[in-house]
Symmetry: none
Subunit: 124 residues, 2 copies
């Protein structure tokens, strides 16, 4: 059993970014409270980026952190997974952009309100 009481609602190892809540311990990501289904790579990539919120991170560094090892020339794994991750994040939170590309340098993670889009676009 646990050595000391813990609060299930506020895990120590939880990251926040915009409407995202990332529970690094258990591999769970909540977008506005709703759980996202991310694969292991997607999740670790997200964690790696959020841990350096606002900073530009090179593909080499992302690869070392998430895949472990050196990025080989021509390997597009990072790009592919950034694409997948973007896709899921945008599906969950259409009005925000999270991952920004800095051509020639790498990627930067930063939640950014796109516009004052706050109304349901449910018009016929």
């Amino acid at each position: 059993m646990a050595a000391f009481p813990e609060s299930p609602d506020v895990p120590a190892d939880t990251l926040y970014a915009g409407e995202l809540e990332i529970r690094a311990e258990e591999g769970l990501v909540l977008a506005t409270g709703r759980p996202l289904t991310l694969s292991v790579r997607e999740f670790e990539l997200l964690v790696a980026m959020v841990k350096r919120l606002g900073a530009i991170i090179t593909r080499e560094e992302l690869y070392r952190t998430v895949w472990g090892g050196e990025l080989r020339a021509g390997d597009r794994s990072v790009d592919v997974y950034v694409s997948k991750l973007r896709s899921k994040l945008e599906a969950a939170l259409p009005d925000r952009r999270f991952i920004h590309t800095h051509p020639g340098f790498g990627y930067r993670f930063q939640p950014q309100p796109s516009r004052n889009v706050h109304m349901e676009a449910a018009r016929g």
Copy 2:
């Protein structure tokens, strides 16, 4: 006169999750008032998951909690019992999903209304 709780550490040994009522003391589970017939393993697996509602729980942890001991490589016991449990829960409450799989991470228990929730708004 035994009208008081056995243990002061356990405020209430009855758990609730959606339409489920789980009486840990009696080993009884009611689905919308109707009793379910669960085996010991199934019951303890259910309790272990409900106690961490909404969280992703690894197979290793479930095994330690329910079976007691370390999960050996290749042991599929947890999967098999998750399958059995799902089967009985769905038989009792067809319109709800309880156990969600997070490939690569584990399982998450969370009662979820099953309206028309399966739209892939994947526009090309």
